[in-house]
């Protein structure tokens, strides 16, 4: 009975949504309102035309997320920080002194092949993540993607080398300093705009020449990207540690 009701209501939703999407503007139309926008106010033509010289990044998406819509990204890094704090509120931070009974018996730990391959692979993954972070301005990639890749490397490390060994390598007291770094750097960079007489998160200032402005904007983009990467990597590592902890015993 319950299933029938659920299916019927879902079917109604489906039909309504289908009717809506069928009436949407045709997909891929280069003259649609989303692309062209209202005359003089279209955001997309402006971003595509002037993005690189106004914000200093060849990758327009980086320009948008860090400059035109930087406030959104400021909120976004706060969201991941909130997720970490939420996980800590639910699970609490891992404790060092508890003996991690079954965690130490990692099945892959004693396999020489896995051990060796991971040792060889890890530096490359880290370098790749650095590449993704630093080249976010000119190609696909950016702080968050690179940070996630670095966190994936850290997770592999934890899985293979066991829990208490890796907690010795990344101790909590040390990780704690980097978890909130992304929003804080964002705010610090935003306040520069205030001190130079413009609004929050302004990267270009009329009192300087264009070359100076480009240098300022590029270095600010770089600093923010690195901070997002570092912050993201530490946050995901901490979430993984918190989820792995054992409090039952």
């Amino acid at each position: 009975m319950r299933k029938v009701v659920v299916l019927c209501s879902l079917l109604i939703c489906y039909v309504l949504l289908l009717f809506a999407v069928v009436n949407m503007p045709s997909m891929g139309d280069p003259d649609s309102i989303t692309i062209k926008g209202p005359p003089g106010r279209g955001a997309v033509p402006r971003y595509l035309e002037k993005g690189a010289e106004e914000c200093g990044g060849e990758n327009i998406i980086t320009d948008i997320i860090l400059n035109y819509r930087g406030y959104d990204t400021n909120g976004e890094v706060t969201v991941i920080f909130t997720a970490l704090i939420g996980v800590l509120a639910v699970l609490n931070r891992e404790r060092k002194k508890i003996s991690f009974s079954d965690m130490e018996q990692s099945p892959v730990k004693h396999s020489v092949i896995v051990y060796t391959i991971v040792r060889i692979l890890l530096p490359f993954i880290f370098i790749f993540s650095l590449y993704v972070i630093l080249f976010g301005e000119v190609g696909p990639g950016g702080g968050f993607q690179g940070g996630t890749i670095a966190a994936a490397a850290a997770i592999i490390f934890i899985l293979v080398f066991g829990y208490s060994y890796s907690i010795g390598k990344f101790p909590t007291s040390w990780r704690i300093n980097f978890e909130g770094i992304a929003p804080l750097t964002f705010i610090a960079m935003g306040l520069i705009g205030l001190f130079l007489g413009k609004n929050y998160l302004t990267f270009m200032f009329p009192q300087f020449s264009h070359t100076t402005n480009l240098t300022i904007a590029r270095s600010m983009l770089m600093i923010i990207e690195i901070a997002i990467g570092v912050g993201g990597a530490f946050i995901f590592t901490s979430i993984f540690f918190a989820m792995q902890r054992e409090d039952r015993s």
Binding site: L16, L17, F19, A20, V21, V22, N23, M24, P25, S32, I33, T34, K36, G37, P38, R41, G42, A43, V44, R46, N67, Y68, R69, G70, Y71, D72, N74, G75, E76, T78, V79, F81, T82, A83, I85, G86, V87, L88, A89, V90, N92, R93, S173, I176, E179, G180, P183, L184, I187, G190, G193, L194, F195, G197, K198, N199, Y200, L201, T202, F203
Partner: protein, 497 residues
């Protein structure tokens, strides 16, 4: 640089910065966290008071992040509805003051920095939500406040807390997604994300009316989950009654109002009258649902023995009043609804904090265990009685004005049935609050309640301040009304800047 010009953005950034440094501070000294949170939110209160004064004097403030034109960047638009920031930061300040002893008793010591950090993030999300003028930014801020809300419900150690938080999370996540999808629909037909731009260009999208309707339906669904409208209210009683009392006050007083603020923004985009689509039938349905919510919430509240559960159901009922006020499409009702957002927040925070103080002092939360608690804690119970009287809507208190306005609005709109529902709800609430007063004052006191033993100062001060505010806003109703009337007028008129 002129620092007052940057208040809108700093209002949101100060609590975020404080929350991000909270863990590092907690590493050194746990006690400092309390003062650090207090410091940050006091700054916010001062800033929002300044902003509200400026809005009152000169009208809405627009601030574009990144110094772009508003259609290129993200606009922060501080208007009369954004005056909620004063309410949010002020009540947040009182809630944090209250938390000191309560939290030390209720939750694990290691979670204290986490707790204050979450409260600050939640407040930052709400502040960002009410001041933003950009739809996608609205979504991001909503996620900050909902994620921290889920975590705050689960911060207690009981099993039921986690289950309640999970229920809240699943419903909240689905509603967030429907809002995200609706934003996408609106973007696809207007090509903009700024609310004013959308309001301007939406009437031109005549070829895509079904998309606009679907977006409206999805928005309404999402916001009514956040605000706990009748069929989607199931998460609220559990989550609000199980969380630690300051958290309940925060969630019940402020977080559910966020859904209503979102609805107000939505009605601004679509316009009450003369927009692209005729929204009146939908609003009519919501008004009926709101009437059901009023009666049903109050009805369930009567049968609860747990004091916080009662308050949670009364929140459901009062949300119904606000929705009813907004959906009657009538200026008096709209004014009543908006004023009730403010007043209910103050009353509900007061009641939950009183309940928290009682639970802290006595350890009991069932009414049948609280016979004669008025002897033990006279000040707390006096303040709670004021809160009770104002939530019922007895004239000198602030609860009276909004119900009066909504009732007048219902009569003016020729829908007397809604006024009847309103009266019925008030009647049920009255019956149930009689129960509280009866238990506290007129039952034979239990032996351990004979001695006077008040809650600590950090708890009493916020409670007394809130009770005074209840009375003051009832007697001096002029100020809020003078403030709200322009907001209501601009919402109902078709003129858009």
């Amino acid at each position: 640089m002129n620092i007052t010009h940057h208040f809108p953005i700093l209002l949101d950034m100060v609590p975020i910065a404080a929350a991000c440094t909270m863990l590092i501070i907690g590493k050194f000294r746990r006690e400092w966290c309390y003062y650090w949170a207090l410091f940050a939110i006091s700054i916010c209160t001062v800033m929002s008071a300044g902003l509200v004064w400026e809005v009152y004097k000169t009208g809405p403030i627009s601030y574009v992040v990144g110094s772009w034109e508003r259609w290129f960047g993200i606009e922060i638009y501080f208007d009369h509805i954004s005056a909620c920031t004063l309410l949010i930061s002020g009540l947040g300040l009182l809630i944090i003051i209250f938390s000191k002893h309560y939290i030390a008793k209720e939750i694990d010591e290691r979670k204290i920095p986490v707790y204050y950090s979450l409260i600050l993030l939640n407040l930052a999300g709400m502040l960002g939500f009410v001041i933003t003028g950009d739809l996608f930014n609205l979504f991001v801020m909503m996620e900050i406040l909902s994620l921290s809300g889920y975590a705050l419900v689960a911060i207690g150690e009981e099993r039921i807390a986690q289950l309640a938080a999970f229920k809240y999370l699943v419903l909240g996540a689905v509603s967030s997604l429907s809002i995200l999808m609706a934003i996408g629909f609106l973007y696809s037909i207007t090509g903009s994300l700024n609310m004013h731009e959308i309001a301007l260009y939406l009437p031109r999208a005549k070829d895509h009316i079904p998309v606009a309707i679907a977006a409206f339906a999805l928005f309404i669904m999402g916001f009514s989950v956040k605000a706990a409208l009748f069929p989607l209210h199931i998460w609220l009683p559990d989550a609000h009654s199980i969380a630690p009392s300051p958290v309940s006050a925060l969630l019940s007083g402020l977080v559910v109002k966020i859904g209503i603020c979102g609805l107000l923004r939505l009605l601004f985009i679509y316009r009450y009258v003369g927009g692209l689509i005729n929204v009146e039938p939908v609003l009519n349905i919501i008004a009926w649902l709101a009437a059901i919510t009023i009666v049903m919430g109050a009805f369930f509240a009567v049968f609860q023995d747990d004091i916080k559960m009662m308050l949670a159901y009364s929140t459901v009922s009062n949300i119904g009043y606000i929705f009813l006020g907004l959906c009657l499409v009538q200026s008096n009702a709209l004014i009543g609804g908006i004023v009730h957002i403010f007043n209910h927040a103050i009353i509900k925070v007061l009641l939950f904090l009183c309940a928290g103080a009682i639970i802290y002092q006595t350890g009991c939360r069932r009414l049948s265990d609280l016979h004669g608690v008025g002897r033990k804690m006279p000040i707390t119970m006096a303040c709670m009685s004021i809160g009770v009287l104002s939530i019922v809507g007895i004239p000198p208190t602030n609860g009276f004005i909004c119900k009066w306005f909504i009732a007048i609005g219902a009569m003016d709109a020729k829908k007397p049935l809604f006024a009847a529902a309103l009266l019925f709800g008030a009647l049920f609430i009255f019956a149930y609050y009689i129960k509280i007063l009866n238990a506290a004052y007129f039952k034979k006191p239990r032996a351990e309640f004979e001695k006077r033993d008040e809650a600590p100062m950090t708890m009493l001060v916020p409670i007394v301040l809130l009770a005074i505010a209840c009375l003051a806003l009832g007697v001096g109703a002029y100020f809020p009304l003078a403030f709200i009337k322009p907001a209501a007028k601009s919402l109902l008129s078709t003129a858009i800047r």
